[in-house]
């Protein structure tokens, strides 16, 4: 990937990082179109275009990569730190118009929002720096009461 450095986050004690959970869950025939569309956008941005702001769906402090416009409700939550640094999270199937009413999405939505806010705070305070498409500094986060 010569345009974007993709990060994901690894919850302590889990076998897979969050984007690996997304791949494992959605790379099945039932979600084929949605999954391939999202992952193709991830790859194309990473190799060709960079993370243009207009490619993302804004989800409060975080972002999400969109499912196909006319069908499918799969979301991949992420945090666009800069045009060349993107943190990929896990995804979900959105079952209601509002994410707050979608049980599958709510956790991932809130988790990525909390992470995005902490990243922004650390960048502002100087605990995190962006250099040469990399994040440098403290990359350990404590989110909520359960996750560190």
């Amino acid at each position: 990937m010569n345009k974007i450095t993709y990060y994901s986050f690894h919850i302590e004690g889990d076998d897979l990082c969050e984007v690996e959970k997304f791949v494992t869950r959605f790379n099945i025939p039932a979600y084929k179109d949605d999954y391939e569309n999202i992952m193709s956008v991830v790859r194309h941005m990473g190799t060709c275009t960079g993370a243009g702001e207009h490619y993302f769906r804004h989800e409060r402090a975080a972002e999400a990569l969109p499912p196909p416009y006319r069908s499918g409700n799969v979301r991949l939550y992420c945090s666009r730190v800069s045009p060349d640094i993107v943190i990929l999270g896990n995804g979900c199937v959105k079952t209601a118009q509002k994410v707050q009413q979608s049980e599958d999405c709510l956790f991932h939505f809130e988790f990525m929002n909390a992470l995005s806010r902490q990243i922004t705070e650390r960048i502002v305070e100087g605990d995190l720096r962006m250099f040469n498409r990399q994040l440098e500094g403290n990359l350990h986060f404590k989110i909520g009461d359960c996750y560190e």
């Binding site: 994901s8 569309n37 992952m39 956008v41 969109p66 416009y69």
Partner: protein
């Protein structure tokens, strides 16, 4: 890079990649034209008679554009979203040759045509191909 993630990206079918690339390129093109013309998504939406939220969905790069949609956007933006190269261009002429019309044909140095008895009166233009003399259908008369 995570092996699972890398394998997943490498396993994507070519047509899915092409589809994503094309849709993002169209979204980029609209974005660039809007910026150049100082137009907002709302302006484009109004010109197309659509809601702003629908235009924003197009900008996310996953909308399946139809020729109908593209034609309407072309009209609304007064610009071409997609250029299709023509197979060949036909230039309108005015019946006169210009320098730009010249076609260079590699011709060996002129020699008198073989088999012509009166070379003082007629000259043939020909070129040699291997050992054979190939004439072109042109005879020059010396004045």
């Amino acid at each position: 890079m995570s092996k699972i993630f890398e394998d997943a990206l490498n396993a994507l079918p070519a047509h899915a990649m092409e589809r994503a690339a094309m849709s993002l390129e169209v979204a980029d093109r609209i974005h660039a034209i809007l910026e150049k013309k100082g137009m907002s998504h709302r302006d484009l939406a109004q010109a197309l008679g659509k809601s702003e939220s629908e235009i924003s969905k197009w900008m996310r790069g996953t909308h399946n554009f139809t020729f109908d949609t593209i034609a309407k956007i072309n009209m609304a933006l007064d610009a071409k979203l997609i250029y299709v190269p023509k197979a060949r261009s036909v230039k309108q002429g005015d019946g006169r040759l210009a320098k730009s019309d010249a076609t260079v044909i590699p011709i060996k140095p002129l020699k008198s045509a073989t088999g012509l008895s009166d070379t003082s009166q007629q000259w043939s233009l020909y070129r040699e191909v291997g050992n054979r003399a190939a004439t072109v259908p042109l005879t020059l008369n010396r004045n």
